[in-house]
Symmetry: C2
Subunit: 185 residues, 2 copies
DNA sequence: TCCGATCGTTCGCCTTGACGAACAATGTCC
DNA sequence: GGACATTGTTCGTCAAGGCGAACGATCGGA
């Protein structure tokens, strides 16, 4: 399995990187994680396929989430101007959601810029279980949150709510803007 | 190890939950993940400690990141009004960063609301390796990005850049606001 | 110099993760 | 009814993950 080999190689590099970052010796990290030095040595050289318990113990000792040990690299500077970018959810002229940063492999969030006009409330069906949404108003006012209990927000106000229940975004003033972080926990 | 037992119990529940979510039988999921039925049966009943390869194969077959199989629950609706919330980095009157949502266990991002006035540029030292920052301007204008190449942004403009190099945020107009997502990849 | 501590690597051994097979239960079709 | 397919559980077997021990290399102190 080629993907498996790549995973183990990435894991090995990640463990070494994080260990360097926190400045621990192999011996000390193994001690803190409660695993054998030889086990850690094998893992760092790409010669292992650790159990989830071993992986968890290492992540805890390194002070990082497991995902940080098994995720790929990262990109560079990117700019998207106002009015530009892939618009999604724009079947109505009074609400536009622009995807600024989609969920890269292994990550768990999408970032949207919202531009809305007063009109019919934008109601969203429940997203995947475990989805949380964070909304911050930039300008204007809007009614935001779960359909059964939306909250009126103004500039600078923030709300977080479960995105896996029906929820709503309704602009109360012209040219209302917001940022929404849709997070898969 | 009590924590280990909790981890395995959580994993078992997560696998069952996700399998139900995608509507696969135990037999079909095992087939798609390329593991033995008996292995999956053991895992779902909390009687296993799978290798990272097995875990990865399952996550891929379920269409979720591994972290979703080993992370704890989630919270509810929360509102932070403009002007409220824990202000960080406010040793200068012309720049205030309000932490809206800190990094919960297993997650990898912090969410800030920025309120800034023109003045000396706010320069940040490099954060931890692998940090990416996303900035969206709500109001006003600002120079944002890596110290060696900041970009001028206006309302609705967006930029993402590596947060593990020296970077800057300099308001160019009074009452400039922004949202910053600091992400640990 | 020698000694002790620490480092990372390699080795042999043992336990357990993962395998395929067998099994009982259920559902569908002829 | 019987035949077949699918379901999830249990079992015995084997290879590998993880263990402790041994080893050589390095460093600091007497």
């Amino acid at each position: 399995m080629d993907t498996s080999a790549a995973l183990i190689t990435l894991l090995a590099a990640s463990i070494r990187r994080e260990r360097d970052r926190v400045g621990l010796s192999l011996t000390e990290l193994a001690k803190r994680a409660g695993i054998a030095k030889s086990t850690l040595s094998q893992l760092e050289s790409g010669g292992g396929n650790p159990s989830v318990e071993t992986l968890w113990a290492l992540a805890v000792a390194l002070g990082v989430p497991i995902s940080r040990l098994i995720d790929p690299p990262r990109p560079h500077v990117r700019v998207i101007r106002a009015g530009e970018g892939p618009v999604t959810h724009s079947e109505r002229a009074d609400y536009a959601a622009t995807l600024l940063a989609s969920c890269p492999p292994g990550a768990r969030r999408d970032l949207f810029r919202i531009d809305a006009e007063p009109g019919e409330a934008r109601t969203s069906d429940p997203h995947n279980p475990g989805t949380m949404e964070h909304a911050i108003i930039g300008r204007g006012r809007a009614l935001v949150g779960p359909t059964e209990g939306p909250v009126e927000l103004g500039p600078g106000d923030y709300i977080t709510y479960p995105g896996d229940v029906p929820h709503v975004f309704r602009a109360l003033e012209p040219q209302t803007t917001a940022v929404i972080v849709m997070e898969h926990v």
